[in-house]
Every structure is written in structure tokens, then in C-alpha cells.
């Protein structure tokens, strides 16, 4: 009995010591993931993609209609924009406003699926064409693969992505795509941002090409059979692109103000784009989260939470921007760095899970 007493005391001390360990202390046996044999139903990804492309097609068709209307007006005045502005001011303003509204509808619609389009190798080319490709002059490895033929017989060689060209034409940020006149929309005597007329040939051709490629994307998306590799690739490719978006936000007129020389992303703050992209990626993650949870439920929740937290972080900054807070370039730099750090942490977790599941992340 005496011998039992120290043993009991020792056991009690040992148990107490164990209980006093921080809750995060590891369990004795590490969890060893095994490649899951469960088949994940990713049909929701395709449903989401097709539904959004359907809406995008409607918006791009509206943009084509408005561009046609504007083109007809310009053609009627022999492409003499001074004459056009003086004789058809209201009709021109209407056509431009309708075109801008359609663009403002189409662009965020695309951002909501960009994560999937850019991340899925079989669809990625459409992201270059529609939203991410550079012009031949800008160079790099993301030059668009098309030339833009205009109605007047000119050809713009590898002019850059179609949302970018149409945005520059509609908001007049690129003189080469804009009518060579000053159009004081609100007649206040000052030419302000956005007070410019598009070059009708460019607007019509870019809108028509945009609509055509959206149609091709729709066909490609219908043929796409989503699989786990595509879903993980989309997440790992797109989540860590935050600094690209924050960089373009920092250089845009939303931060740099009138000093900005950036021609794209002038109509909608990139902060809104980031939220749209993250919304799409949340849908993708929802699709694979059961698979992740099958090997590590804590990790699955963590990734889910981190994605939501990243989106909330960006939404908070956007809300402050909309409330009138003026961010300095240094603020934007810090915010971009923070968003990128969070995105990198999420991407890191996703890569570890993909490796554990033996899911290929495609190049």
C-alpha cells in the first residue's frame, strides 16, 4: 500500500502536468493523411460558372447594342466628332451612358468567375483575352493572342485585353482610343475625369469581340468537366494574386487621384474586383472543402475562415474608401502587403493539403 502511494502521487502529478499543457499541444500520434478515395461532387462549380457566364453574355450583348447605336450616330456624322457632339449630344450621351452601364455590369460579372477562368488551364486563355492579357507593346508572357480588326479597315495588333480596351474607349483614358474632341458632359466648363467620347470603331470592335469571346468561353465552360485538380489549381493560382490587384489599386485614380496615369481599372475600384474574385474562389473552395475535411477538418475550417477573413479585410478597406477615407500610397502599400501575406498563408495551406491528398496542382 505504501508503495502504491508514491506511484499514485506520481501519476496524479503526471496527469496534472498533462492537463496543464496548453490546449494546442500536439496529440501523441500525429495525424497522417491518406489520399482520399471519396469522389468530390464539383458540379456546383460548373453550375456557378455557367450561370455567371450567362449573365455576362447578357451584359456584353447590351454593350454591343449600345456600341452599335453610338457607331451609327458617328457614321451618320461621317465620324466628324465635333459635328456629332454638337448635333447629337443627348443621343450620344445616352448611348455612352448605356454602354458604360453595360460595361459596369459585365466587368464585375466577369471578376466573379475570373478565379475559375484564369485558374482552370483549359479556360485560362479566355482570361488573357478578356481581362488579364497585355498588349504587344507592353510585352511579357501574357500578351493577348488576337489582333483587333476595326470597321474602318484598320487593325490593332495585339492591343491588350478586351475589358481594358473598351474601358479606355468608354472613359477616355487612352487618346488613341478616344474621339479627338473635348466633350464637357455636364457643361460646367471643366473637362473632368470620364468626360470623353469613345472612338466609335474601337468601341464597336472591342465590344463585339468581347461578346464573341464570352460566347466561346460559354461553349468551353459547357465542355469543361470540373475535377479536383482544376479546383485546387484555380485556388492556388488565383488566391496569391492579391498584390497585383492592390498594386493596380495603388496606382489608380482611387489612391493616386489626378496624378494617376493608369488607363485601366478606372471605372471600378480594384477593391471591388478583389471581393468579386474572392467570392468566386469561396465557391470553388466550398466545392473541395469536404475533400479537405476528409483528411483534416481543422485545416478545412481554417482555410475557410482565412478566405472569409481576407475578403472581410478587403471589404473593410473598400467600405472606408467609399466612405471618403483617402488612403496614401504608403497605406495602400501596407494594405497590399498585408493582403498578400494573408493570401500566401492560405495558398501555403492549400498546397500542403493538395500534396497530402496527392492532387496535382497544374502548371
Amino acid at each position: 500500500m505504501r508503495r502504491l502511494l508514491p506511484l499514485t502521487l506520481f501519476s496524479a502529478v503526471l496527469l496534472n502536468a498533462c492537463a496543464a499543457q496548453p490546449a494546442a499541444a500536439p496529440t501523441a500520434a500525429p495525424s497522417v493523411p491518406a489520399a482520399s478515395s471519396t469522389t468530390t461532387d464539383l458540379s456546383s462549380l460548373k453550375t456557378y460558372l455557367l450561370a455567371n457566364i450567362g449573365e455576362l453574355k447578357t451584359s456584353s450583348a447590351q454593350l454591343v447594342a449600345a456600341s452599335n447605336q453610338y457607331y451609327d450616330l458617328a457614321k451618320a456624322s461621317g465620324f466628324d466628332y465635333d459635328d456629332l457632339w454638337s448635333s447629337e449630344q443627348q443621343a450620344v450621351l445616352n448611348a455612352v451612358e448605356v454602354g458604360r452601364a453595360a460595361w459596369m455590369q459585365a466587368s464585375p460579372g466577369y471578376e466573379q468567375i475570373e478565379g475559375l477562368v484564369a485558374g482552370v488551364p483549359s479556360l485560362a486563355e479566355y482570361d488573357v483575352i478578356l481581362d488579364a492579357g497585355t498588349s504587344a507593346a507592353e510585352g511579357g508572357d501574357g500578351v493577348v493572342p488576337f489582333d483587333l480588326s476595326l470597321a474602318d479597315g484598320r487593325t490593332l495588333q495585339k492591343p491588350g485585353n478586351l475589358f481594358g480596351i473598351s474601358e479606355r474607349a468608354l472613359w477616355g483614358t487612352d487618346p488613341e482610343l478616344t474621339a479627338p474632341i473635348q466633350a464637357d458632359f455636364n457643361r460646367n466648363g471643366t473637362i473632368e475625369f470620364g468626360e470623353a467620347l469613345p472612338e466609335a470603331n474601337v468601341l464597336l470592335s472591342s465590344a463585339t469581340a468581347l461578346d464573341r469571346y464570352v460566347g466561346e468561353l460559354q461553349t468551353a465552360a459547357q465542355a469543361w468537366q470540373p475535377n479536383e485538380s482544376d479546383a485546387f489549381t484555380a485556388l492556388v493560382v488565383m488566391v496569391p494574386t492579391m498584390n497585383e490587384y492592390f498594386d493596380s489599386w495603388k496606382n489608380s485614380r482611387f489612391v493616386a487621384g489626378e496624378a494617376s496615369t493608369q488607363r485601366d481599372f478606372v471605372a471600378i475600384s480594384r477593391l471591388a474586383d478583389i471581393q468579386d474574385i474572392l467570392s468566386g474562389l469561396e465557391v470553388v473552395y466550398d466545392g473541395v472543402s469536404p475533400l479537405v475535411a476528409s483528411v483534416d477538418s481543422v485545416q478545412s475550417q481554417q482555410i475557410d475562415q482565412d478566405l472569409t477573413s481576407l475578403k472581410t479585410f478587403v471589404a473593410d478597406v473598400h467600405a472606408k474608401e467609399q466612405a471618403g477615407q483617402q488612403f496614401t500610397a504608403e497605406d495602400a502599400d501596407l494594405l497590399g502587403s498585408e493582403a498578400q501575406n494573408r493570401a500566401t498563408a492560405i495558398t501555403g495551406q492549400l498546397s500542403q493539403v493538395a500534396a497530402a491528398l496527392d492532387v496535382e496542382i497544374q502548371e
Binding site: 500520434a29 500525429p30 501575406n341
Partner: protein, 779 residues
Amino acid sequence: MIRRLSAAVLAALVVLSLLPGLAGAQGASPASSAEQVRAALVQAQLDLARNPAAAQAALDHARATFDVQLAPQLEAAQITPAFAQAQQALEAGSAAEFAAARAQIWTGMLAASYAKTEAALAQGDAATAQAWLPLREFRHATRFSRPDADATKAVVALARAEITPEQAVLALRADLLDTYQARQTEALHDLQIAEGQSFGSRRAEAVGLSVGYFAILAPAYAEQRGQPALTEAEQAFAALQRAATPEASTAAQAHIEQVLQGFRAAPLGAAEQERRAGQMLRFLSLVPVEYSRGVSGQNVTKDLEIREAVTFRDGAAAAFNDLRTLLDERDPALAKQAAQSFATLEQMLTNASQRTNVPAAGQVQQATDNLLATLGQVMPDAWQQRSSAGDFDVIDAMLDQMQAAVAAGQYDLAESARLEAYAILESGPEAKLVVFAPQMKAPIEQLFWFGDGDTKGLAGLIEATAPASEIAAARTALNAQLAEAKVAIGGQNAPVAVATNAAIIVFREGLEAVLILASLMGSLKSAEMRRYRTPMWVGAAAALGFSALTWLMSRSILNALLAFGINAEVLEVYVSLLAIGVLLLITNWFFHQVYWTGWMASFHQQKKRLTGGEASKWLGLALLGFSSIYREGFETVLFMQALVLESTTAVVLGGVAVGLLATLAIGIVVFFVQAKLPHKKMLIVTGIMICAVLVQMVGKTVHVTQVIGWLPTHPIRWLADLLPYWTGMWFGLYATWEGLLMQFASAAFVIGSYVLAERQKHKKIETAVAQPRGVPSKA
């Protein structure tokens, strides 16, 4: 005093108010807790100028989270003072000082987590490592690069006992040190940008991060360059922290660049160096090929070809950057010249992309040739040999190009890329495939060409302009086959064959040890002499213990050599050659009876001398028992190391266990049952088995030597069709002239040695018979 007390009470209240929430969060993982700390500190930084109260609350939250959830488990000495600095910075309203403290806290947590994970892995504690590893950073991922999962995989492999703790630690270091060095480079780059834009707090953060990352890399730096160099590097970073003027900062950065020149925290292993060099050479050689297809004179005709040329140059440049340190060590001037040539080539391709001053194909060819010539001068010979791993990388890259072309609807270019991938397979790995894994050749060819039955091949699909999804499916199937082929060419032994070999060797050596002991013990028969058996038993037992110790030491030495960067296959060749040499010697001695009778006579002489005198008898007999057994143990350990390098420790130990059990059984029969066994016959049978092991070991060693490119591979194609796949895995039989000739030579040596020994024996007998009695022999 009262103010201080009030502040302390207030701080305590804040912490207490946070405790319930923190307690609720106690189940959070270390990574999650650290993320809370990091995010709260960023929030404090953002609020610092506009809302100091909110900033204070965020800092308090970060501090409390750290104190409650992390500090008890981490080395917090470097981190806690940084919180005090953050508090002072907040009170002073200094965003820059706050940013510096924030960076120190974060990198301090990374360093502590790394140390904790490394220590856990070194002790084989996968559970603790798994809990702490996620508190880490990753290389910043881009659209084109993915974070590594090597450390995570290593922890899982350790948990499954697939790798040793030493291997897990090496994988952790390679992954994390590489990551933190990349982050340090980024921090120094960000510092330049911040200074260029006069961002004070961003600058302070970048400085803090670069110093913090270097603290993690410091042990590797000291290991490679010595303590004085580390002290100089630390002084350079300290100067950067102190720099109050742009000039001082520029000078400090220049000094840092100088001390970091050529430093690579996680050095590439020899195999990885050769692989990256192989990629660099192959990718470079493809640049002018692609480029010439994309231009006509000085006009770009096919953009996709130009983009492919750019991709191959970028791939080659990335490999060059990974090897730059090593090339600098060999010849800094030539390495610099190569770097400049890479830049020239990049400019030429950029011009082509932008259609300004488009260079002619001949110019790009010339520039590439010049670069290859420079690299040829500076690269070691081993890097310039073609390796299968490098070939597979290029095949993979070409198939990526094929899919990109399909996605762009350019099926003619896709076909061209497919053909190039196939040509690389044909000119490189195919010959080895025919020999080492012939059963894999047909499925791979079918997937490259027109398929078979329901399986569709890439050539057929491209010809039919099939949808990208179908081509992607065929590619996935081909990837799986190529991955298997890569492993098969690399050479794996059947685990049962390795275990059987281990068992045979252990049993054979064990049998010899038992017979030596039995013979020595048997000669200590008299009642007076029997007491001397005890020290011999003690010596024999000690020899077994020392054999185990020798095993552990040799494993450590081999692991250290592997860690030092020596290729596992190269090590396998060296150790196998040593083992083969000893095996040949043993079989030769055995046939000439030098081995057995000579050793036995020597042991008996020693025993006689020892039992003849009184002094130190006990110790002497113990030493005799020890030396007679340890000799066998040492040989066995040597052979086992060769087998471990062919397979895994677990497989070899399984065979060792079987061999030991068989030896134990013989020992019991001999020593306790004292049965009379046919010793000679047993030695002959096991001797023949050892000869079979020798021939198999020669075949495997030749195979590995061919894999690393030290021996050429000349396949015997007709035999390759006849030999089943398993003959290679089980008997080391591969259809190459080199392998079969060497196996034949080793068998001929053994048989020749036997025939010679028999002839000498007969001659001796004949001489003895022919000699008249009483006349002493001349021999």
C-alpha cells in the same frame, strides 16, 4: 509612481478582460494564434495615426494572445522586448518604430517555431513537429510558381516511419531555409522600393524583416562561412538598422549584398544540382529552335513560338540562378559572363515580343551558342552529363507547351511540341526504359501516338482536333506512366529480394561465428578449463553490442555524407563496390581454405597462449571471444549498409532479424542441444548462396552506375524482350552488355577461384601420395 502603478493596473485589467476570449481560443493551433498576433499588430499599425485608442486595443490583444497562447511554449526571449518597443512606439506615435517592432515580433515567432519543429523532428517527434510546422511562411506564390510541401511531406513520412529523423530535418531545412532566404531577398528588394518612394514605416518594416529572416539563416551562414563571417554579416545588418541617412542605408545595403553574395542557406544536393544543370542546358538548347520557327527574317510570324522561346529562356535562367552560387565559386568571371549572356538573350526575346528590332534567328542561335559555350567552361563535368531526371523535366515542359497550344486552338503547334517531347524520350530515357522497365515502353508509346483500344493517344487526338479536355485526360494518363517509368529507371529492388539477401548474409556470417565459438568452446572441455568459457561468452556478447554500435555509427556517417550533398546513388556505388570487393575476397579465401582453416588455427593459437599463462587470462579470453565475433559483425554491417542504400532500413532490418533468428536456432542446437551438425555442408551451401548474392549485387551496382551515367548503357534489345521485368528487381539481371558481362566476370572469378583451389588441393594430395614416407615435403 502612482501613474506607473495605474498603468500597470490598467494593463492588467485589459489582459484580464481579454482572458475569457483567449481561454476560449486556447484550442487554437500555434499557427492560428500567431496569425491572430500578426493581424492584430497590422491593425494597430493601420490605426496608429488616425485612432490611437483602437491601435492600443489591437496591440493589447496581440500581446495578450502571445502571452497566453504562445509564450509558455516558445523561446520568447527575443520576442517579449519587441512588444515593449511596440508599446513605446505607439505612445510616441512613431509608425516607423512600430513597424520595426512588428517585424521583430513576427520573425521572432517564425524563428522560435522553426527551432521547435527542428528539435522535434530531430527527436523523431512527428506529432510536435506537425503542430508547429504550420507556424511558418511560404515563398510568395505567383501565377507561375507554387509553394513547396516538402517539409509537410517529410513530417508525414516520419510519422509513417518511412524516413529517419535526420532525413526529416534535412527536408525541413531545405524547405524552410529556402523560403526564408527568398523572403529575405524580397524584404531587401522592398526596402529599396520603400526608400525610393520615401515610405518611412514600410522601410522600417522591410529592415526589421530582413534582419529577422537573417537571424533564422544565421546558423546555416556560420556553418558554411565560419563565425567571423557571421559576425561581419550581423554587423552589416546592424548598420542597416542604425542607418539614419540615405547614404548610410545605401552603404549598409551594399555591404549586405557583398556578405550575402553566393550564400545559399539550403544548398542544393548533388543530384538536384545535376538536375537543374540538365534543365538549364536542355531549355537553353530549345530557345533557338522555338525562336527560328516564330520568325521569318526580322519579322515575327508566330507569336506562340516566340512565347515558347521566352518560356524556355526563363526556365533556363531560373535554373542558372539556383546554380549561380556554385558557379561563382568555380569561376566568378565566367559566371558573370554567363549572367550577362542570359540578360542579352532576354533582351533579344523581349524585342521580338514587342516587335521592335526583331533579331534574326541566326543571331539568337549565336547568342545561345555563346552562352552554352560559357556554361560549358564553368560547369563541372558531372553537370554536363545527360540525366534521365532532366529529360523527364523537359518532356513535361514540352507537354505543357502542347496543352497551351491546344488551348489556343493551334493544333499544328501542339503536334510540333508533342513530337519534340517524344524525340527527347526517344533520344534519352527510352534506351534505359527498354532495359530497366520494358513493360512500360508500350503504354507510353501508345499514349504518345494513337492509343490502343479505348485508350486514346495524343497524336490521334491532336490529328482529330479533339477538345482540350480530352487531350488533358490523355496527358494525365501519360503523366502517370512517365512518373512510373521515372521511378523504374531510377532502379528499385524488390524489398523481399533485399530482405532475403540480408538474411542470407547474416545467417552465413552468424554461422561462421557460431562455428568459431563452438570450436573454441569445444577445446575447453576439461573441468579445469570450462571456467574459461565464461569470459569468451562475455566477449562474444560484447561483440554483438559493438556490431550494433557499428551499425548505428555507419548509418550516421552515411547520413552525414548524404547531408553533405553526396548523391545517394553515388554513395550506393561506392559502398556496393567495397562490399563486392570484400565478398570476392571472402569467397576466394573460402575456396582456398585460408579463410576458415587459417582463422581457426589463429584463434586456437591465441587461445592456447592465453590459457597457457595465468596473467590476464580472463581479459584475454574475453578479447578472443570479442574479436572472433566482432570480425563477422563488422563484415555484416558493411554488407548491410550496401543493402540499405539499395532499399530501406526497415526492409534490411527485417532480413537481419530473420538471419539472426536462424543463427540463434543453430546456436541453440550447437551449444545447448550439442547436436552434431554437418558443418562443412552447411558452409558450402551458404557459400553458394553468398555467391548468388554477389552476382546479384554486381548486377545492381552496374545498374546504378549506369543510372548516374558513370557507365554507358548498351541494351541487348532481343534479350530485353525475353527477360521478364522481375529478373531485374530480384536478381539484378538487366539486358545490357555492361551488366551481364560484369556479372559473368564476377561469377567466372568465383568459379575460377574454386577450380584453381581444387586443382591445387589435388596437386597437393597427389604430391603427398607420390612422396615416399619419411621424406619431408618441400612445400
